[in-house]
């Protein structure tokens, strides 16, 4: 972390995106996390992804729970409304916000304690409902703010900084999300921006619950030998199944002949996720095979990363609820209140 505030002045040479913003316009306050924290890399990836996607910052609502990861929404998208909610309860607040206004982009940021321990119930049900959001878990297997307790994603047999062994079996949020019906499931590593930025972009373009589990080492409490969430361990065991590019709808006219190792997935808004396969037998459109593949590799101690599953035909919660297109928070009295005359008729029916 740094105590020196960045100057507000933008360098004139900073590149502007199609909506007229520079990368700096997507930044937030100075991070107060530890130097080298994986979470700061994720924040930087979010900034990059939003800039590249030409999203107007104020059209994003960012919500989080409690913990180190949940502090980060203050450190990116300073022109977006943010909400640091209750420990483990970000999904319900985000769901309510999304019900109120379907026109905004919703970004939920959580941690492994926040989502896999105290908040696992809300994580589960938000995935089931298909709330249209990008849900990022910054997963370090440890409670940082309370100084180093194991979280529910810590691997069995891994050791804490103090040397204690974790004997509980871990919660794998990726497998859980797949089982629960999430329509976009990915895993990445905070240290791999080349993989993470396109994943965030694809998730934000996706309609429905898009979940990204980002392994994000905790330099203070979980970056030692014996940890399975350290920078060294993840670099050694990372097995990326694909690399992806996002092709905006408008650019899809360019003819790029996909070769054999490429899968194109068109999303509802016309954008295309182009996946370059690194694992020959991996097809991210097959939920069952994805679950099997992940479990198979986990048994070998490998951390599978990349876009693990995507359902291009996904629907979201508003379409399940058949709500009107106009955001509910913009409906006025005339649209909502049946009025005095109708009430007289109702009164008559109660006699």
């Amino acid at each position: 972390m740094t105590y020196i505030a960045k100057p507000k002045l933008h360098h004139p040479s900073l590149t502007r995106n199609r909506v007229g913003f520079t990368r700096r316009d997507y930044e937030g306050k100075i991070s107060t996390l530890c130097a080298g924290c994986g979470h700061d890399s994720i924040s930087a990836s979010i900034v990059q992804a939003c800039w590249e996607l030409d999203v107007e910052p104020h059209r994003v609502a960012k919500l989080s729970g409690i913990g180190c990861s949940s502090k980060t929404p203050d450190y990116f998208l300073g022109q977006s409304h943010g909400f640091n909610t209750v420990h483990g309860r970000m999904p319900s607040v985000l769901t309510g916000a999304y019900l109120a206004n379907r026109d905004l982009l919703y970004l939920g940021v959580s941690g492994d304690g926040d989502s896999a321990s105290i908040g696992i119930g809300q994580f589960v049900h938000a995935m089931r409902r298909g709330v249209d959001m990008t849900y990022i878990v910054e997963n370090n297997g440890v409670y940082g703010l309370t100084k180093g307790q194991f979280s529910a994603t810590a691997d069995q047999g891994s050791r804490s900084k103090k040397g204690a062994e974790n004997t509980d079996s871990p919660v794998d949020l990726v497998s859980l999300a797949l089982q629960l019906g999430a329509s976009f499931v990915a895993r990445s590593f905070s240290g791999d921006k080349a993989q993470l930025v396109p994943l965030i972009k694809a998730a934000m373009k996706h309609r429905g619950a898009a979940f990204i589990d980002v392994i994000s080492p905790c330099v203070a409490f979980n970056n030692h030998g014996g940890s399975t969430k350290s920078y060294d361990y993840v670099r050694e065991h990372n097995d990326a199944v694909n690399r992806l590019d996002i092709i905006e709808g408008r650019a899809a006219i360019e003819v790029i002949q996909p070769d054999e190792g490429v899968i194109d997935v068109e999303q509802h808004d016309g954008s295309v996720i182009r996946l370059r396969k690194l694992e020959a037998d991996y097809d991210p459109r097959d939920r069952l095979r994805a679950m099997n593949f992940i479990a198979h590799h986990a048994a070998k101690g490998e951390v599978v990363t990349g876009l693990l599953f995507v359902d291009p035909e996904s629907r979201d919660f508003h379409s399940h609820l058949t709500t009107v297109q106009m955001p509910l928070n913009q409906l006025e009295t005339a649209a909502l209140c049946p009025g005095a005359e109708v009430l007289e008729k109702l009164n008559a029916s109660f006699r």
Binding site: G96, L321, V324, L331, N347, F350
Partner: protein, 605 residues
Amino acid sequence: MTASTNDFVIKFANVNGSGSASANELFAKAILRMGVPVSPRNIFPSNIQGLPTWYEVRVSAAGHLGRRGGVDLMVAMNPQTWDADVREIEAGGYLFFDSTKPLPQGMRGDIEIIGMPLSALCVKHYDDPRQRQLLKNVLYLGGLSMLLGIEPAVVEALLSEQYKGKPQLAQPNIDAFRLGRTWAQDNLKFPLKFGVVRADNVGDRIFIDGNSAAGLGCVYGGATVCAWYPITPSTSVAEAFEKYCHKFRIDADGKRKFAIVQAEDEIASIGMVVGAGWNGARAFTATSGPGVSLMTEFLGLAYFAEIPATIVNVQRGGPSTGMPTRTQQADILSCAWASHGDTQHVLLFPEDPHESFAFAADALDLADKLQTPVFLMLDLDIGMNQRLCAPLQWNAGRTLQRGKVLDTEALEGGVPFGRYRDVDGDGIAWRTYPGTHPVRGAYFTRGTTKDADARYSERGPDYLDNVHRLKRKFETAKGLVPQPIIERAHRPTSLGVLYFGSTSPSMHEAAQRLAVDGLALNLMRIRAYPFPDTVRDFVLAHDHVFLIEQNRDAQLRTLLVHSFDVDPARVTPILHYDGTPITARFIAGAIRERLGAIAIREVAA
């Protein structure tokens, strides 16, 4: 027995799941249609089939709608509860039973017994076992109508309405009703010592349960998001909201102008309400005491982050297997001070379905105006029983009051924005909805670690500045909530009574009785917390004040003493909390008893 024409209590003892509920309700409605006020109450177990259930109807020409206590005519259809049911009949009263089987030995000699062979008649006339069971209820309806003088045309009209569009069901019911009447006419002695005679005492009043009225009030109040979790006795609030939304909130394309989510628990319910409120939609949840307990962390956050939320709490006993089908007013403190830290919440106390409707809509307005959680405090007695009340009322031209919200134009016009600045001196700051303006009006929402511009701060002065402003806001709330209603005695008196919520009808009746005994009481009905200062003035204007509550620990009294530092000795609690609705008999008796120990100062006219 005190019963007389148009003034008696009849109680139906049934087994739940036997189809008795609709027949009993029809009985009550028939008397209403004859212009005679009734107040029915369901007394039911937390069970779907097989356990005892009662339906008690008080018929009262004078319009007393509280529970009276005692039974003049028991319709004893449940062998399980026979002994207790027979004991409950007032001396001189009647027992109506199915005489297919003989009466047990050793019956009371001080009551009159009316036997009608209901099962035998059903077996004789119907083949289908299901029909035998259901029409048995209609048979006794026929018998009772003959005994009590209920007009058959009224009952038959109600049966036709009930089975509107289903003549194959309407006719067998009407036939069974006539069969019951004819049998009673040929075989029973009538009239009884009391009965029903057509009158004109109902007026334009309506008959509706508080939960339905509250659900409809949320439609009128512009709620668009309802997140809830099923819990007795509040479930029918969300169900009513859904029913009326389907009626009034679907556009020409079949799209819905509402979103209802049955959440995974009450924590998620209130989380969704808070998220929707933060994002500018009107949102509410309906729950009961155990649900409020689960919601408390969120309620604290909503208080400090200043997010509108409406919570309909239909009170019952608690916890877990805690008398879920009985009534209490025992969540006053758990709602008023819900959550950790220094929190205070707005509570509204409707007295009946009429106010449940009005206050539901008001609660949504208040939550937006005050940017805070607002509780609508029903209880099972109001919520789940149909009650005669004034027609629901809505002013033409009334619009949703969204409170202090800066829109795009205001921000574009350069109105300075700091989320928690007290610009107007009333403690209520201006807010913005997410997504309003590209470069103005965004802020970060969190608990208490913030300054007036919503920047992260753990500084003591910033904290104090914020919580003191919240205090000012609560003072402002005093003037916005429904004000108390005072009813003065016919002559000056040094005695006052405070009461609230479902106690209302019994309190009025008790005051009338005590007035007949020469005891004058000034009444004040509290309708909201924070208490307006007129509540303190009322307490100080009387030597003694009785505070009537339906809980063990005098919870509202605690709030009262805390609010105004009044001497607790001035306020005598009168408490009823066995799970049954409070009665006028109880209140009058308790006041008489307490007065024995008090020297009453006469006040000159």
